[in-house]
């Protein structure tokens, strides 16, 4: 039974890993509708990875950095608003959970890569989707080739890939990967006062994927690689819904 322990005490007792500082700070800042742009700019400017990702989100049409029309954090925030910061704050724990899942469950080091340099998925592939609603509304998509999905599922379940012929088992593992990723970012959002609910994961095979972002939504596309494995994660978010 809880002896009136605080969250910090319980975190220590249960051995929770510390949450990513810049993502928590950013989520807290962006959760206020009167968010201070200067403070947000400082947090992003201090973190080169966040800065790179924000400029990529702010310049979705650019093929490379030389084509960026928006070159500073301040400019990106002024032109794109808080939605693009929120999507960054959400994607950070999500990406960290994905990398940690590969480290702990597969002993594989996933490397984050520029999605523009990744080889696009061709033909039928696996598409996992989780929706979230509440103070923030949007979707998380996880995409990978069927062979990659089979390899990951075999690794996580401890089976030889050739024994894994049932595509439903591969889908179940992909769904659990999505659950782990989104559970981590949901905790981060809820702790910042952005209460939201997750839909159950849905995984299917498709050869046709396109993201239809609603008006005011921001999108971050991420890609990860480890050896022959390549994964795509896309996040769309629209903050401050009244749902």
């Amino acid at each position: 039974m809880n002896d009136g322990a605080s969250y910090q005490e319980l975190s220590r007792r249960y051995g929770f890993a510390p949450k990513p500082e810049s993502a928590s700070r950013l989520t807290q800042l962006v959760s206020r509708q009167d968010a201070d742009l200067d403070e947000i700019t400082k947090v992003i400017d201090k973190d080169p990875t966040l800065r790179t990702r924000l400029l990529r989100v702010a310049n979705p049409e650019a093929e490379n950095e030389a084509e960026y029309a928006i070159e500073t954090v301040e400019d990106a925030l002024m032109r794109n608003g808080m939605g693009c910061v929120l999507v960054l704050a959400m994607s950070t724990p999500l990406a960290q959970a994905l990398v940690k899942t590969f480290q702990t469950m597969l002993s594989l080091q996933l490397e984050s890569i520029d999605p523009r340099t990744a080889t696009p998925l061709a033909g039928e592939h696996l598409l996992g989707t989780i929706g979230f609603s509440g103070k923030v509304v949007g979707h998380v998509f996880l995409r990978m080739s069927i062979d990659t999905g089979r390899g990951i599922a075999a690794g996580i379940l401890g089976l030889p890939p050739e024994e894994l012929q049932d595509i439903n088992e591969v889908r179940d593992v992909a769904g659990e990967l999505l659950n782990i990723m989104t559970g981590n970012f949901k905790s981060n959002l809820c702790d910042a006062g952005l209460e939201c609910k997750l839909s159950p994961p849905e995984v299917r095979s498709t050869s046709d994927f396109s993201m239809a972002a609603s008006r005011g939504s921001s999108i971050e596309q991420m890609a990860f690689r480890s050896g022959g494995i390549q994964l795509f994660v896309d996040v769309t978010a629209n903050p401050w819904s009244d749902d």
Binding site: M1, N2, A5, Y7, L10, S11, Y14, F16, A17, A97, K100, T101, T104, M105, A153, I156, L157, G158, E169, D172, V173, G175, E176, N179, I180, M181, T182, G183, N184, K186, S187, N188, C190, D191, L198, P200
Partner: protein
């Protein structure tokens, strides 16, 4: 007598991992796919330990934990939460209902063994 462990998770993947984790120990692992099935399995099997997810269809883990703690015959069964959610409100609510430990996904099998081993006896099976 084998230690009886009940794994309650809507993900077959996690239930398989939990089963594999305890395979080399003298344990009998039974499974349920949601809180409602979990309560029925707990009443039927009287496990020594329950490993419980939070977000599940039909009945979630927090509701199942609350009902478990209201049942005089089941309330003393120790519970380890195994979930990807470690938000402040969730953790405080779950701790208030009463859990022995909390493990955040992703996890290593050794972490689950270590946490379970603090609560129930885990005896290695002799090598075949």
């Amino acid at each position: 007598m084998a230690t009886k462990i009940l794994s309650v998770d809507d993900s077959r993947t996690i239930r398989m991992i939990v089963g594999r984790t305890f395979k080399s120990y003298d344990c009998q692992v039974c499974e349920a796919g949601n809180g409602e099935e979990g309560l029925a399995a707990a009443a039927r099997e009287k496990p020594d330990l329950i490993i419980l997810d939070v977000t599940m269809p039909v009945m979630d883990g927090v509701t199942m934990l609350g009902k478990l703690k209201e049942d005089p015959e089941l309330k003393t069964i120790p519970v380890i939460m195994l979930t990807a959610e470690s938000g402040r409100d969730n953790v405080l609510q779950i701790a208030k209902l009463g859990v022995r430990d909390y493990l955040v996904k992703p996890f290593k099998e050794e972490q689950l063994i270590e946490k379970a081993g603090r609560i129930v006896p885990l005896v290695k099976r002799p090598a075949a």
